[in-house]
Symmetry: C2
Subunit: 397 residues, 2 copies
């Protein structure tokens, strides 16, 4: 049977290939410390479950295609508190930030079109872009420069006649890079000058550790036609399994196109939207506590990394990831070796090898992404295992 050329160009999750090795290691009795997954361990606020349990209609009906009004109102009020003002008509509730992005890209990209994305980037962007027939054009960065991409010349030099949009994850996955307001302004200006969309994947907005004001590309009303925001409750409230996101733009033509897809798939899950609306009632002390917890973990992971000779890494300002270059020949091979050959008191460690975060072939070979979503003691042990592993790997025969 013949398949779509677009799906042929997509790949399975690059993490999958380590799954059999992990299973084999566990079968040998190894305990694996997971620095490879972005699933937060923070408790989901009880407000979600309370709202879901409080649903007492006899029929679980379709939600409106645009979203359950109480959820859209909750998101609008959340942005109002950030002094960023939308109408609920600027929003469409989606099945996670993932669907928001799928819909936005389907509206924008045609076969042969390009979207600029700083690399390293979240690998699932590949699938979302490939199925449209478009492709990712990377904005190159280096670990030595702390993966800094927000320079006008660096971005503009990558724009060509195929470029339709610039997309940034801010705060960044996998780099933890956080844009300053001036940098956001500059990116928005580039988009305006070149008649491009600028997509801000801002699902990690709350996860900033330098006392920064919570920020959004939507803060620049003069770029209303250009800016698209991808948002989600997944990370904000540790509610990944709810699959509730939101696509936001003041560009009415874009939203009319997006509505076609929303109507086509009828709606996002009704109960989860009701639960998600309730999440927005948690007060700021929730975020303060979560932020403090992650900041402590980041500092722990960074302190441990700095002790490892040859590691190249700047302290990330946000999200819950660290991208680092290791003194190893190949992070993929190192990961396989950690699972097959290494152990310290029966323990080993997993991370996300860096190559899959790059579009440029060969880049990221000695880099890894660390997700610091483990509790303090486990994180310390995991980082020690990484250090011990690097030493042993480079000493092996």
């Amino acid at each position: 049977m013949k398949f779509s050329s677009k799906i042929e160009r997509c790949g399975l999750s690059p993490m999958r290939k380590f799954h059999p090795y992990a299973l084999a290691a566990e079968a040998k009795g190894r305990k694996i410390y997971h620095l490879n997954i972005g699933q937060p361990d923070i408790e989901t606020p009880a407000a979600f479950f309370d709202a879901v349990r409080g649903f007492h209609q006899p029929v679980l009906e379709y939600a409106p295609s645009a979203g359950v009004p109480v959820f859209l109102e909750a998101v609008k009020e959340y942005y109002d508190r950030l002094d960023i003002h939308f109408d609920t008509a600027d929003m469409l509730a989606t099945t996670g930030g993932s669907e928001a992005l799928e819909i936005a890209l389907a509206c924008i990209l045609d076969d042969g079109d390009e979207i600029l994305i700083p690399e390293p980037f979240y690998p699932n962007y590949n699938t979302f872009v490939q199925v449209t027939g478009g492709s990712i054009h990377p904005i190159p960065t280096t670990p030595e420069e702390g993966y800094h991409y927000a320079e006008r010349a660096k971005i503009e030099s990558q724009i060509n006649e195929h470029t339709r949009a610039i997309m940034v994850t801010n705060p960044g996955n996998p780099t933890g890079a956080v844009l300053t307001r001036e940098e956001m302004r500059m990116i928005v200006d580039i988009a305006k000058e070149h008649d491009l969309f600028v997509i801000g994947d801002e699902v990690y907005r709350e996860f900033v550790y330098g006392g920064e004001k919570l920020a959004s590309l939507a803060e620049f009303p003069d770029a209303a036609e250009n800016v698209i925001i991808i948002d989600s409750v997944s990370k904000r409230f540790s509610a990944c399994g709810a699959r509730v996101g939101v696509l936001i733009s003041r560009n009415k033509e874009l939203m009319a196109h997006a509505m076609k897809i929303c109507q086509g798939r009828l709606c996002s899950a009704t109960l989860d939207q009701i639960g998600a609306a309730a999440l927005y009632t948690v007060d700021d002390s929730y975020f303060a506590k979560v932020r403090e917890e992650y900041k402590r973990r980041r500092d722990t992971a960074m302190a441990k990394l700095k002790e490892i000779p040859g590691v190249v890494c700047e302290c990330p300002k946000g999200a819950f990831y660290i991208m680092a270059a290791l003194p190893v020949d190949d992070a993929d091979r190192f990961q396989t070796w950690l699972l097959e050959e290494f152990e310290d008191h029966g323990d080993t460690v997993m991370f996300a090898p860096g190559e899959s975060f790059y579009a440029t072939p060969g880049k990221g070979k000695n880099e890894i992404r660390i997700a610091y979503v483990l509790k303090q003691t486990d994180l310390e042990r995991a980082m020690d295992l990484l250090a011990l592993g690097i030493e042993a790997y480079n000493k092996r025969g």
Copy 2:
């Protein structure tokens, strides 16, 4: 700003255009009887809500990309009871049948490819197909023949070098047509002979009113490589708002491609899958009762339709829709008139005008789809309003 040519070809829901007229009618105090929406009024089994309320994990985590195991097992066992046997690896849990179809089409269709679909068909198929760059090639039918499409010559005459798949909704939306086992065999044979996929959208499987055995295109194991099943809990258990569906195929290459998209969007909602699994514990008496209720409604609607002079319509065998040709010049214009000009004791009625169910321009102009999801007394009143409306519309000056 420039948008994707694919999204430009998609349309908003054709029902939307009547929304302002309906609002205006309600503002004038009119009561509208809705024969236009496929939202069942049957209660969702309590098992769903019980399972959701029984979830007590502290973190609402991502589900596995392929689906929550307890849900996949429940679906497998449901099919086992129908004597249709799958591995859970043949299934991917999706966000409603809609996402199952989106994923299947994204795996199959390339720009310029065609999928054969008997018309009239569910209008949202247009969006799902258009975003792939492919197009719907209709298999024509007529109201006079009861929308019958399952003839070898009729289907084969539409196959050309661009044809990649045949898709049928069985039982049918909007026609209520139900395939015999021989017809299913024939369609599967055509797919095999021409090396095509055959997609069975079987979300209305339980809704058959002639004592038929519950059927599936998956009953023919010799066509394992060709057959794709779209399934969902939405109609089966009146749980539309759960958005839990399943993509099923024994074609391993297809499922590997589909998994790329499933991993890209991470997962479907965790709690809804847990609730959906519990739905499969309801016993057959539930379906017997629901079937009896819908059969009574179908018979009521049909009896009323038969009393209207000039209506062309055969009794549908399944789903909860009737497609009929009316003795009016234009069903769109008739609907607008019903909302703007007509009333009987302050009441009026809405249906789905037929044109949007066709790919062939101009077809379906005097046809409508009736969804008999109203309780008996409301349904009778709605059908009487339709009859009164037709009479008055054709007598107007």
